[in-house]
Symmetry: C2
Amino acid sequence: MPDLLADHGGLRIDRSTKTLRERTVERLRDAILNFQFKAGDRLIERSLCEKLGVSRTVVREALRHLEAEGFVETLPQQGPAVAKPDIGQAAQVYEIRALLEAEAARAAARMATPADVARLAAANTAIQAAFADGTGRDVLRATTGFYELLFTIAGKSVAWQLVQGLNARINYLRAMTISRPNRSVDANAEMLRIVEAIARGDGRAAAKASFDHVEKVKNLAMAMLDTAQ
Amino acid sequence: MPDLLADHGGLRIDRSTKTLRERTVERLRDAILNFQFKAGDRLIERSLCEKLGVSRTVVREALRHLEAEGFVETLPQQGPAVAKPDIGQAAQVYEIRALLEAEAARAAARMATPADVARLAAANTAIQAAFADGTGRDVLRATTGFYELLFTIAGKSVAWQLVQGLNARINYLRAMTISRPNRSVDANAEMLRIVEAIARGDGRAAAKASFDHVEKVKNLAMAMLDTAQ
DNA sequence: TGCTGTATGATGGTATACCAACTGATGGCA
DNA sequence: TGCCATCAGTTGGTATACCATCATACAGCA
C-alpha cells in the first residue's frame, strides 16, 4: 500500500478525494454550527437522507462521528438529536476552554511574528465588523477564525481540535452570549487586551486576558441558563 | 415521546439497554487499550465482523465513533488502523494532559473528603501492586482507575472524557514509558506527592506534583520517540 | 363525551448485496 | 531469469431490505 504521506521525490499521485461520508459529516457539522439545526432538534435519518441525497448508511456513519465529537447526542428509544448540554457540563466546557485558550495565548505571545500580530489584529477587526454588520452566525464564524489563527501561531493543533469539539457542545450558548446588548463593546475590549499582550510578547498578560475573557462569557452563559431554568 | 431523564414520581420503567453498536465500540476500545491491536494495525472490517460476530454495519459505525474519538485513523485507499500519533502530536497531547490533570488535582485538593483521600491512596497502592505483580496492561488499567477517581472527586467529567481520548492516542507510548527500568520507583514517588498534597488540601502543591509527573512521562516518551526515529 | 383497543405509519437497529478500486499471484514471453 | 499482462481475491464505499418497537390517529362502545 503506497505511503500517501511520505515525499517520494515529488512524483506521487494525489488520490485523496473525500468520501460521501466525510462530506456528510462536514455538511451536518456546518449545519449545526450555523443553526440550521438547533440544540435539541431531532436528526431523523430518513429526513436527512432526503435533504442530503445520500443513503441511510452514509447518514448513520456521519451521525456516529458527530456523536463522538459531541455535536450530537443519542437517547435510547429516541434517536439522535443536536446536543444540548446541561448547566454543569456547560460550566466545565467553559473552564477547559479557558485553560486551553490561555495556554495558547501564552505560547502565541512567545512565538508570534509581527506579521502574525497583524493577522490577529485583522481577525479581531473582522469580529467587530461582524458584530456591526453581520448576524450572530457571522460573529461566531469570525471568532472561530480568530482562535484558529491564535492556536496555529501557538503551534497547538491538537488543543484546537479539542476546543472546536468543546465549542460545538455550547454552540447555542455562544450564540446567546453574542446577542446580549452591549456584548459587542465588551468583546472588543477583551479581544484587544489579548492581541495587545501578544503584540508586546507578554505571555502572562496574554494568558490572563484570554482567561478573563472566557470567564466573562462563561458567567454570561451561566446567568442565561439560570434564567432559562 | 416520554422524557426518560425526568423523575416522574419514581415509577418510570428503565429501558436502557445497549445496542450492538455501543457494545462493539466498548469492545474495540478495550481491545486497543489492552494491545490486542497495536498502534498502526489495520482494522479490517470483515475480519472484525468474524471476531465480534456482528455485521459490517455495526463494525463500520463503531469504527466511525472510535475514529472521531482518536483511537482509530483512516487513511484514504488504506482503510482504518489503530492511531499512531507523530512526535509533535504526542508532545501536544502530553501538554494538554498536564494542564487538565493539574487542574483536576487542584480542584480535588479543595473538594476531597478523608474517604476520598483514602480511596486515592488505595488506587495508588493498586498501581504499585500492578507494577510489581502485573503486566503493563495492568499498570495502565490501575493508573486509569486512579485518574478516573481523581477527576470524579474534582467533579470534572468533561475533562475526564477528553483525557481518555487523549490517552487513547498515546496508548502505546504510555505502555513504553511504563516498561522502562526503575519507572516503578519513580512513578510511586510522583503519585505519592499528588496524593499527599491532596490529603493536606494543598491545591497548588497538588497541581504542581501532577504537572511535574506528566512532564516527566512526556520527557521519557519524547526521548523514546527520538531514539525510534 | 371520554376511554380503550386496534391499526398504521414512523423510526432506529441490523443484515446483506453490489460495485469499484487495489493488491498480489501466476503464467507467458523475450 | 526478469518483466509484463491478466486474473482472482480483498477491501472499503454505498445502497437497500427487513424487522422490531414506538407513537399517533381513528373508531367503537359505554
